[in-house]
């Protein structure tokens, strides 16, 4: 009898503990969260795959095939040849089912030549993006050189030095608004100030003008993220510094900045990636849209003609023919992605080393 009653009690408790209620809302919520993640990954993968697919002929170094007029082909030689601009090229013949012959000219291409060559729209087989890579790297250096010291400096002043007042709040709100201003507006600024007004110093439509314009473009984001990082430094660390008789400068230099450095780096790298991908402001600042000869000498390179990878992508897509429009643009995008990946990887490695230091 007692055994039976124990059984009943135990099983009742067991069933109560196991619970029959299904957590429907929780399950749906979890599924929805997963769906958003899957959606994001699928979209990104589709983009990436389609770009790589389009770029494949250039990435794998497939020769560029272009049809030539049959009346220009000299069929007496073996293989047949065509002479253009005083140069003789081999021609391939393909025959369709009806027996009609078409002639193709084959131009050797390689990914290395694409990366190392100059912009060339007249001969797509020799088109390259070296000038764009150089321009983008130059812009990256200038963004780092201008926006990090100015942005971090402004952020540290706002967070560590300025007293809370209506004025500082106004400045803070304005910086946040500047981060949302369309990039083309910064292009107008770059055009009127750097290209036109400061023509004598910047050389007009130059790498310096473009770099500084993009540095100004990302400055608000650098300030905001750096200010957040500085604000996130625990107050007890500051108090500890002041408590042993450190000045504001010493506390900032030895404790606040090292602690905030990972956050500052994250913001800076995001900004840099954004600057690398911007084309709109560069159009106004006057990046080259086609073939141009590189300026000679280091200083002339800074103050002379330039272009950047996103500019090339934009211009390639406006050219006739798949070789530039599809393959060229896609391959340039792949290179741009690799550059951004490299920048971000460097940032992550730097950030991790700083994070290790602060524990």
């Amino acid at each position: 009898m007692t055994l039976a009653s124990t059984d009943i009690t135990t099983s009742a408790v067991a069933s109560a503990l196991q619970g029959k209620k299904v957590d429907t809302a929780g399950t749906i919520f979890r599924a929805a969260l997963l769906a958003t993640l899957v959606f994001t990954v699928v979209v990104l993968l589709t983009l990436l795959v389609s770009v790589v697919q389009d770029a494949m002929p250039i990435l794998s170094g497939e020769p560029l095939t272009s049809e030539v007029r049959s009346d220009l082909v000299d069929t007496t030689t073996d293989p047949p040849t065509i002479t253009q601009f005083g140069e003789t090229f081999d021609v391939q013949i393909s025959t369709d089912a009806a027996g009609n012959e078409t002639y193709f000219q084959l131009d050797e291409r390689s990914f290395g030549d694409f990366v190392g060559g100059n912009v060339n729209f007249t001969n797509p087989a020799e088109n390259g993006i070296k000038q764009g890579i150089f321009g983008s790297l130059g812009i990256a250096v200038m963004v780092l050189v201008f926006s990090i010291p100015i942005g971090v400096g402004a952020a540290v002043y706002l967070e560590e030095y300025s007293k809370a007042s209506r004025f500082t709040r106004l400045v803070d709100v304005n910086i946040r608004n500047l981060a949302g201003v369309p990039s083309i507006v910064y292009g107008i600024l770059g055009f009127t100030v750097l290209v036109t007004a400061l023509n004598g110093i910047t050389g007009g439509r130059s790498l310096i003008s473009g770099g500084i314009t993009l540095a100004i473009l990302v400055l608000p984001v650098v300030i905001i993220t750096s200010a957040e990082a500085v604000r996130a430094v625990p107050q007890p660390i500051r108090e500890a510094g002041y408590g042993v008789g450190a000045t504001r400068w010493e506390v900032t230099r030895y404790h606040v900045l090292p602690y905030a450095m990972p956050g500052i780096l994250t913001g800076t790298m995001l900004s840099l990636a954004r600057a690398l991908g911007e084309a709109a402001p560069l159009i106004l600042v006057g990046a080259q849209t086609g073939f141009f000869t590189d300026p000679e000498g280091a200083l002339d390179r800074l103050t002379g003609n330039f272009t950047a990878l996103p500019m090339l992508v934009f211009n390639f897509t406006r050219q006739p023919g798949d070789a530039l429009k599809t393959e060229g643009a896609a391959a340039a995008i792949v290179v741009l992605l690799l550059v951004v990946l490299f920048v971000n990887a460097t940032g992550i490695i730097l950030r991790n080393s700083f994070e290790k230091k602060r524990s």
């Binding site: 660390i237 500890a240 002041y242 042993v244 602060r358 524990s359």
Partner: protein
Amino acid sequence: MSDHVLDTPDATTSTGSNTMSNRPVVETSASLRDRESNRIVFDIDDLDVYYGDFRAVHDVSLEIREHEITAFIGPSGCGKSTVLRCLNRMNDLIDSARIEGSIKYHGVDLYDRKVNAVEVRRRVGMVFQKANPFPKSIYENIAFGPRISGYKGDMDELVERSLTQAALWDEVKDRLKESGLGMSGGQQQRLCIARALATNPDVLLMDEPCSALDPIATGRIEDLIQELKHDYTVVIVTHNMQQAARVSDRTAFFTAQIDSDSDRRTGLLVEFDDTESIFSTPKDERTENYVTGRFG
């Protein structure tokens, strides 16, 4: 130096209880001054502390004497930490904070325009409620203060001396290069004490140094505070009445008063006396209620 040798806890308490009976209640601080030979380190006179328009503490007058342990006790929001933070001008870090009245440090007005808060903090060290080692090595934690104040001597020796004073040397001597954050809570707090001692201060302010520690770690810190009294003047804020009774020579009891206009709490000093008197024969009813556990 000769002053504090005489000033054993026994001597203090016995003098205190002898003179207590013939002392007028209202003149607490003045009568303390008459009968003590220890030099006054801090002379706080009619101190009010404001945060913006809000008066956080009002009418605090007391003296802190050399080589004594002075405890500030009282319920939350009574302003004891606020007063403590005025003594090394830590409140300067809060934009809206300002004081009225005066705090004299060895006769010099601490809040004089010519006084540099950084120099004050080098002489008046501080240990905080929650142990706050720098996220750096144990060695660097100690060496930072002396280095920025231009210490030219043997840094290794100073680090060892400071850690020994804080009763931590034996536990950490083999891992000075390791992070200060990797230690237990009690060790971290002793590291903070060692860090404060490394700049060779005159006074050590402690803001509830044991509130986050277990009883064993608390006991070690309390023993340490007793040791430190021989070389330093210690002011300790504590929530824990037993702690005040155990370690301090004098106790200031603060309480919070609800301001009828703003409905905010303003701290005030109720009673300042020998620790013995505060806990055995308090003169103010509020003190008695607090120390007997009827309130707070």
